[in-house]
Amino acid sequence: MKIKRQQFNYLIYWLISTIVFLIVLLVINQLSFKNQVSTQLNKHLSPELTKAFQQHIIDKNYKNLVKSNLNQQLALTNALTHFNIFKRYSLTIEALFSESDHSNLHTIYVPWQFGLEAKQAKVILDYQIRWWLIICICSISTFIILVLIHLVPKPVSSHYKQWLNLLKSLQVEDDIAKALSDKIEITDTSKKDWLKSLLTKILEDNQLTENVNINDLVIWFLNKTTDDLQQISQIKFIDALYQSTINIDQAYQLAKKTCVLSFNIDTFTININNFEIKLAKTPFFYYLWYAYLKVNNVDAGWLINPSINHPDTQSANTITTLMKENHGHSKSINELETHGLRAKTLDQNRNKIKETLISQLGEELSQPYLFDLLRDTKTGRFKYRLKLDAESIKLPQAIKNTLTQK
């Protein structure tokens, strides 16, 4: 639709310029033609007229003789070949003595000397215009002119140059950099700002420059709307780009301001903003347990490390049930049943979770999904809970049932 409108505009330009051109061409040609004829008449007809009456005294019929003689001579030159937009040219003396002076495109007044008096002869210049030819010439030539003018490459703006330089310094090849700069040039200013700050940050960081395929990144960027970009945090996005295992689309998902953590109990994977991370069986259940405590606001999600002498048997029971129902590791189940929940076990599993997340997401990006740490005022021991808001965590339905029955 947009293209059609543009084509329509060009059509209008073409039409208007054809008409203007037609008028200009006609005016110039007709005026110059009349002027040339007039010059020739002044040069050739005028002296002959003057000469013709030098031997004249009183005979009034002689004027007619001169007129018809000259008209016969003029008629001989009327048959011509070298014409294109004019045809049927003819030149006729209408009057040898003319008083009026209403000159127009077809009337020429030729001054001459009648004895001692200045006279003027009225000559009619007649021709026809080959309209089809002049219209063809005008329309075709204006079309060619418009195309030529349109083909002149537009000068690059300083912004375009900045983009080009930025992309080139990011090791993008010349041709690709030009193509990308062209496209960036026509995007929204707010989007451009976003990309500029992103690319500048990437440029400042050598590791990022190596990791990220700038071409893919810019193409991905061009396909996103301003709204899409507003949903994510650029800092998070850059953090995600650090990870060579995370592609741009995944990075985008991870960088979203809203965090969503869900658990797949069948595969022991957690899903962070559609990014799946597989955990080892035992740490998975501990992570799920912490999540459960947070979601159900048990002690505001806090779990105090049990003391060495008094392992937490109540919690141990719950976790054991959870593991048993969901194909947990038998070794871990045995340990919990014999020794109860110990601080050492908790620390070990939390560390494993932390390691896995950091290895996948990096230090920064994994922070929201890790643990808060606080010293319990009563017992003097450390207590831990998930940092993530309860609303952002989605527990599997099956687990909810199991634990609430407990």
Binding site: L45, A52, N61
Partner: protein
């Protein structure tokens, strides 16, 4: 090509200004090209001088023989030629009639000796000055006719007397070689015993300015001929004839072609020039034998 353009624009900065400049250049250049391509050139005019009139003789007995006539004026040339062309006597010797009108000075001795013209209207003095034995080649058909010159005035009581001229202004052409408008009028005043130095005379550079001034009644007396009636209405004016008359010249025919019949035909045809001599009451007299032919 693209590389060349690129290297060019590293030398000349390619900015918005040069972009528009290139567009305008393309536009102007194209317009110029189209105007040149569609330029309409009128054919070259070639107009030959109108100095002759030619007609074919209807009942001719010969082919391709032209009867050439030389006249000092272009008046009535067509009528004269047509009359001759319809004449059977001329048709016996010629197939066409060609009337030429030239300045009196255009005639050369060579023209006369070679009998280029079979009929000539010219002054005897001029012809005899050119060729001594002119009378052996040409025969005079008609004597010179007199052309009357007048003094013209709006004043009904106009006369050439010192009394009348005291407070009058006389207009003359500022050309001391002019027979009709300077020499002859001055001479006529002198003959009346008038002191030229006491007269008030205005000199004009052209006939037009002279007659314009006369028509505006700025001057009282001008010289004139009866053929100026296209400029001033002579009939409404007081005319004082001047004694001295201008000679119009004689009519001559080549002796090699002349016969009594032709002589009569020429004189009869020459009557078309009567209007020129009306004021001088001239009659063109044909030889007596013409009545019998």
């Amino acid at each position: 090509m693209a590389r060349l353009v690129n290297s060019l624009f590293t030398i000349i900065p390619y900015n918005f200004f040069s972009y528009r400049l290139i567009q305008i250049t393309i536009f102007i250049f194209s317009c110029f090209l189209i105007i040149v391509l569609t330029w309409q050139k009128p054919p070259l005019l070639q107009i030959s001088t109108i100095d002759h009139y030619q007609c074919e003789i209807k009942n001719t007995l010969v082919s391709n023989k032209t009867f050439n006539i030389l006249l000092p004026l272009s008046d009535y040339a067509k009528e004269f030629a047509e009359r001759l062309c319809s004449n059977t006597e001329i048709g016996k010797q010629f197939s066409q009639v060609n009337i030429n009108w030239r300045n009196r000075s255009a005639l050369t001795a060579d023209d006369l000796l070679k009998e280029k013209y079979q009929l000539i209207w010219a002054r005897k003095d001029t012809l005899k000055g050119m060729v001594l034995h002119f009378d052996d080649i040409y025969q005079m058909l008609l004597p010179s006719q007199k052309v009357q010159i007048f003094w013209l005035s709006h004043n009904k009581a106009a006369e050439l007397s010192p009394h009348f001229l005291t407070d009058k202004i006389i207009g003359l052409i500022n050309d001391q070689k002019s027979f009709s408008s300077y020499l002859v009028p001055i001479d006529s005043l002198k003959k009346q015993g008038i002191d030229i130095s006491k007269l008030h005379i205005n000199y004009y550079n052209s006939y037009k300015s002279l007659y314009d001034a006369f028509n505006r009644h700025e001057i009282d007396l001008i010289p004139g001929q009866n053929w100026f009636d296209s400029i001033i209405d002579i009939d409404q004016l007081t005319q004082i004839p001047i004694q001295h008359q201008l000679e119009s010249g004689e009519l001559y025919a080549a002796k090699s072609i002349i016969t009594p019949e032709l002589t009569c035909s020429f004189i009869a045809a020459f009557h078309v020039y009567i209007p020129l001599f009306e004021a001088s009451n001239t009659t063109l007299t044909s030889p007596k034998y013409c009545k019998n032919i």
